[in-house]
């Protein structure tokens, strides 16, 4: 079995293992082992990938495996990775690993919880390795649906409402995607030969501009819904707020990245002319997302809402960067996906842990927690600093790459949009510090909190992994950025060919 397929197989093996588990402990252990293997595998994949590249293998995709699935429709099980997918796989395995430990204490139906969680992760992995639009879409939906049960059963607050809203809105997105994909498929061979779902094959085809313009909005908005594109982001605050910790982590950390990834892997890559022509609309929307999410976060009082709005802002940045259509900005976009993925997972993990102790998420009801739970406090501060783009953490690398890249566009429209987007870093600082100030610093305002304990070992492990992730990328970003950069070649090439100047 090739290494990529095992990313799908291992989750399913883990699930199979979980089915036969007897008690809570076994369940946790099985899940942890399974996802631990997955994490190791991701590391191995990264190493193998870098080695291949270093050895001069410059193929567009590596580890390609192509099995015909539905011959008549030319649907393949076509997998392969470039630097971008490898990076995303790394992200996913870190987050899911941390997620397992963050949900170490799930009491209600733990077996089912882990099964659905891992099922979700398998969808995500599948999505990232797919090069066939059909399987890509299939995995996309696999990733979305378990969410409903995860939020609905194990969530808090108005969980049923949120779960329903999230699912339906995301499925609405996938409805758009479906139409777009079918459009791509039926226009994938204008000369009249065999139609194809293969991303690589379609990327070699020139689709007439009019057709592109018809389908581009479907695909971009479709994926954009998952990427929290304004004004289709409202599932995100409610969904995140109601979701259990690990689910929020996985969702904000990874699932929302599916949107960004899809936007450029499918929408922009395959429909470059339309992207050029219609990009301005979405640039406006994403710029709004960025600034709007940040301002929205200032006013919130619920920790999860704050983070959800912050996610809207950060994910808006991803889409924004994608629409800048140059290598640097797109590298930034991917970096931002990874950075935000780990960061926000960290946040949600911490929020979950804090909530588990104080039983409230309203910042006004808490205060001075740094004193009683220094580990969590410090971790939160680190997460916050990463979020506001402090050098040394991944957020800085990503945002700077985006800004520098975005600034390569010389016209006033792009520049103004960029400057507006850049200004979000101040707003981010405002809400992050506001939370840190109220939540962690100051005096303890509730005597019950005096006796709360600090993080347990598994919580430390969970957050530790994530913090390691953000700092490792923040300190030494070059390899990652180069790896991503290497994967962008074909996309940029295609965009260049399609640009009106060309």
């Amino acid at each position: 079995m090739d290494i990529l397929t095992s990313f799908i197989v291992i989750p399913f093996l883990t699930i199979a293992g979980l089915v036969f588990c007897k008690d809570h402990k076994q369940v946790k252990l099985t899940a942890a082992i399974g996802m631990g293997i997955q994490l190791i595998l991701a590391a191995v994949l990264i190493i193998l990938f870098l080695r291949e590249r270093a050895a001069g293998n410059m193929a567009e995709m590596l580890f390609v495996k192509d099995l015909v699935w539905f011959p008549s429709l030319n649907i393949h099980y076509l997998i392969g990775v470039d630097g971008i997918s490898v990076a995303m796989i790394g992200l996913t395995s870190i987050v899911i690993f941390a997620g397992i430990f963050a949900s170490w204490e799930v009491v209600e139906l733990p077996k089912e919880f882990f099964i659905f969680l891992i099922l979700l992760s398998s969808g995500v992995f599948g999505f990232f390795i797919s090069l066939d639009l059909f399987t890509l879409f299939l995995f996309y939906e696999i990733a979305v649906i378990p969410m409903y049960l995860l939020i609905g059963i194990w969530g808090t607050g108005p969980r049923e409402y949120s779960a329903m809203k999230l699912t339906l809105m995301l499925m609405g997105g996938s409805a758009l995607i479906l139409v777009g994909l079918l459009g791509l498929y039926f226009n994938s061979n204008p000369s009249g030969g065999q139609l194809t779902f293969s991303l690589l094959a379609i990327s070699k085809v020139h689709i007439p501009v009019e057709i592109q313009k018809f389908f581009f909005p479907f695909l971009f908005i479709g994926f954009g819904v998952l990427g929290a594109l304004f004004p289709f982001h409202t599932w995100s605050p409610d969904g995140h707020a109601s979701a259990p910790t690990a689910v929020s982590m996985l969702h904000a950390g990874v699932l929302m990245k599916l949107g960004g990834y899809g936007c450029f892997r499918v929408a922009v890559f395959l429909l470059p002319e339309a992207a050029h022509e219609l990009g301005w609309i979405f640039i406006i929307l994403t710029t709004i997302s960025v600034i709007y999410g940040a301002f929205g976060a200032i006013w919130q009082k619920d920790l999860k809402y704050i983070n959800a709005y912050s996610s809207v802002s950060h994910c808006g940045m991803v889409l924004f960067a994608i629409l800048m259509f140059n290598k640097t900005a797109m590298t930034g976009a991917v970096l931002q996906m990874i950075s935000h993925g780990i960061m926000t997972a960290l946040f949600f993990a911490l929020i979950g842990m804090i909530y588990g102790r104080t039983h409230t998420r309203y910042i006004n009801e808490m205060g001075g927690l740094m004193k009683v739970m220094p580990f969590l406090g410090v971790a939160y501060v680190i997460g916050g600093l990463a979020s506001l783009g402090l050098p040394g953490f991944s957020g800085f690398v990503a945002e700077m790459t985006i800004f520098v890249g975005a600034f390569q566009n010389v016209d006033a429209f792009h520049r103004v949009a960029t400057i507006i987007a850049v200004s979000s870093i101040v707003v981010t600082a405002v809400y992050i510090l506001r939370v840190v100030g109220i939540l962690l610093l100051g005096k303890i305002n509730n005597e019950h909190y005096e006796h709360l304990g600090d993080a347990k070992w598994y919580e430390r492990l969970s957050t530790g992994v994530l913090i390691f992730g953000i700092t490792a990328i923040g300190m030494a970003p070059l390899w990652l950025s180069e790896m991503i950069n290497g994967g962008l070649g074909p996309i940029i090439q295609r965009l260049l060919m399609a640009s009106p100047i060309h």
Partner: protein
């Protein structure tokens, strides 16, 4: 050629200290982390001195000019082929000078803190943050490119944030730290935009390329025009905005006084000697660009510096919190450095302002650190920040008294102390530029002398206060740094500064122009004497004068209401009129429309349920009508 590779350790040692103390500090006794930190910084300082020696005296000059040397460089991140972030060590006169200042002051502060922070909770946290700050600040000054500078710039900001908020259970400290961070962050936004503009225009981040007067970056011209100013000018203005934020220039100065909530050693190190001058350093670093490509921006530097300086000096005269007085004094001094840069030209004599600014930066570091550490010792002794709760302390704190006096004399520009020389150069430079700015400089000098001696007399003279327990002199570990720094405050001015640090790296001989020195000293003395008259003994003159000045005094006392304006903008405008409506809009309009769709669907579903009436004949009717209608429609459609 000398290999300067070892200089990277100057920067790295503090980083290791930070990691060591931060992660493992709680494993051993608190004092250990203090000792580790201090000795580490001592090593760093030693290397810096050695570097300075090598750079200034061993390294051969090229054409009489100090060359810029890249001691160490590694690629950190690559944006495009040309835009690459390196991390490295750039050695040139100003960075070497800064290395000395920073490591020295930092070492002193470390040493001092061992005593000052004794018994505090979070002792090791304090030292780890101090190390982090030292690391960031050193990284900033040795930056080889503007992006590295930005990186460390941000890190400096966050260390400052962490240290201001050191007493995190104190609400004011938390608020102050937040304010400091956000205000500087806002300024950094400008810096970042400036970097983006600059780098895009010139295609490089690299300082050497950027600042080479004959290099491509400057020769390329100033770019397209926008709103009457060239891109280059805009970018420099934006970059200066970053500098202004960090250096607490008006109107971004509001964080600095509040930052005094941090422990006093921190104020000494960060908010007096090193971090706050980063803005000055930044402008100095990019000075050739300012000068050649963006003279308008340089004028802005001058105006802002000058205004901030006088503005702060006036406020300083009215404050009672000794640390705040010192903070405004810092702001005022930095303002002077700024306008010195602003008035400067390029080249040997023409670049006098540049030299003077750097010189003042250098000397100021010593005496201002000394002042703060002294203030720390005082606060340590009397447990109060307010000068009206002090008096007659000269008997209790003899060493502190002496060193404090030295520092006051130095800052007031009394020869032959350090401040005299540097300030004299500044005044000389501004005299070259314009008369009004020279006069302004004189006024500031006078005010400086006044408020410093107001401080001095109020604390050490005046009437004896009744203290809860008798104040006593600080331990050795605190007084030794005071004494060492006072040596600096006395002698630093005697250095032939212009033979080391100049605008273009070519040394020249500076001299003291009596026509400028005499009035300068005179106003200093007058200021000091006035203060003596007012405050040496308890008198009612100050009240009279403040009564006489009335509204102006109140305005100055309330810091010209800048804080209130800020509060109004942030609380009222941003919070209430931007963020809150957005949150509302999001909940009700955006989300509402999504919910609305589902509501409408649900409602329609409820409404049409009636169609399913359970009546067989209704069904049949619909059936027949449906068939007939369909037939009608399609016959119509397909026969026309």
């Amino acid at each position: 050629m000398i290999n300067f590779g070892y200089t990277v350790w100057i920067v790295l040692i503090p980083l290791f200290l930070f990691i060591l103390i931060g992660f493992f500090g709680h494993k051993f006794k608190p004092i250990v982390s203090g000792i580790i930190g201090t000795s580490g910084l001592f090593a760093s300082m030693a290397i810096s001195y050695f570097t300075a020696y090598q750079y200034f005296f061993v390294l051969p000059k090229v054409g009489e000019t100090f060359v810029k040397v890249i001691g160490f460089e590694t690629t950190w991140l690559r944006f495009t082929e040309k835009l690459v972030i390196h991390l490295g060590v750039l050695l040139d006169p100003i960075s070497v000078m800064m290395l000395i200042v920073i490591t020295t002051v930092s070492f002193m502060v470390h040493l001092y803190s061992i005593g000052y922070m004794e018994g505090e909770k979070g002792y090791m946290r304090f030292f780890s943050f101090l190390s982090l700050f030292s690391f960031s600040m050193l990284g900033l000054v040795v930056a080889t490119n503007i992006f590295q500078m930005y990186i460390f710039w941000e890190l400096v900001g966050v260390s400052s944030y962490l240290l201001i908020g050191f007493y995190y259970t104190k609400d004011t400290a938390v608020a102050a730290s937040k304010k400091a961070f956000i205000v500087t962050r806002f300024a950094d936004l400008g810096f970042l935009i400036g970097i983006l503009l600059l780098s895009f225009n010139t295609g490089t981040f690299d300082f050497i390329t950027l600042t080479d007067p004959k290099g491509a970056a400057i020769a390329q011209g100033s770019g397209i025009m926008f709103l009457g100013l060239s891109t280059m000018t805009w970018s420099m203005i934006f970059i200066f905005m970053g500098g202004a934020g960090k250096s607490a220039m008006f109107p971004l100065h509001i964080w600095l006084p509040d930052a005094m909530e941090g422990p006093t050693p921190v104020s000494a190190l960060i908010h007096a000697a090193t971090m706050v001058v980063a803005g000055v350093y930044l402008v100095a670093r990019l000075f050739p660009i300012f000068h050649f490509s963006a003279p308008v921006a340089l004028d802005v530097v001058m105006y802002v510096g000058a205004f901030s300086s006088i503005f702060a000096a006036v406020i300083a005269c009215t404050q009672f919190d000794i640390k705040r007085v010192l903070a405004y004094s810092t702001m005022s001094q930095i303002g002077m450095m700024m306008f010195a840069l602003g008035v400067s030209g390029y080249g040997e004599e023409a670049g006098l302002g540049f030299m003077a600014s750097m010189f003042h930066l250098f000397t100021h570091a010593f005496f201002k650190a000394l002042l703060f550490l002294g203030a720390g010792a005082i606060i340590h002794a009397v447990h109060s920040n307010y000068m009206n709760e002090m008096g007659g302390l000269r008997k209790h704190l003899p060493i502190t008294h002496i060193t404090f006096l030295i520092a006051c004399l130095a800052i007031a520009g009394i020869p032959p102390l350090a401040g005299f020389f540097s300030k004299d150069e500044i005044l000389a430079a501004s005299h070259q530029k314009a008369m009004w700015i020279f006069i302004l400089g004189l006024i500031i000098s006078g005010l400086t002398a006044f408020y410093m001696f107001r401080l001095y007399f109020s604390i050490f003279w005046g009437k004896d206060q009744h203290y809860h327990h008798t104040p006593h002199e600080a331990p050795k570990v605190m007084t030794i740094p005071l004494m060492l720094l006072s040596l600096g405050a006395i002698f630093a001015g005697l250095l032939p500064f212009s033979s080391f640090v100049t605008s273009d790296g070519k040394p020249f001989a500076s001299h003291i122009d009596m026509a400028i020195a005499i009035p300068a000293v005179l106003v200093g003395v007058i200021g000091a004497l006035t203060a003596m008259v007012f405050y040496r003994k308890e008198t009612n003159i100050p009240e009279k004068i403040s009564g006489f000045l009335g509204g102006f005094y109140r305005a100055a006392f309330r810091k010209f209401y800048i804080d209130e304006i800020y509060l109004f903008i942030t609380r009222k405008i941003i919070f209430n009129y931007v963020s809150r409506p957005i949150a509302w809009f999001d909940r009700h309009i955006v989300d509402g429309s999504m919910n609305g769709i589902s509501y409408v669907t649900n409602e329609v579903s409820g409404r049409i349920k009636g169609l399913q009436s359970g009546q067989l004949q209704t069904y049949a009717w619909v059936f027949v009508t449906g068939a007939v209608a369909l037939a009608l429609t399609f016959i119509y459609l397909w026969t026309n």
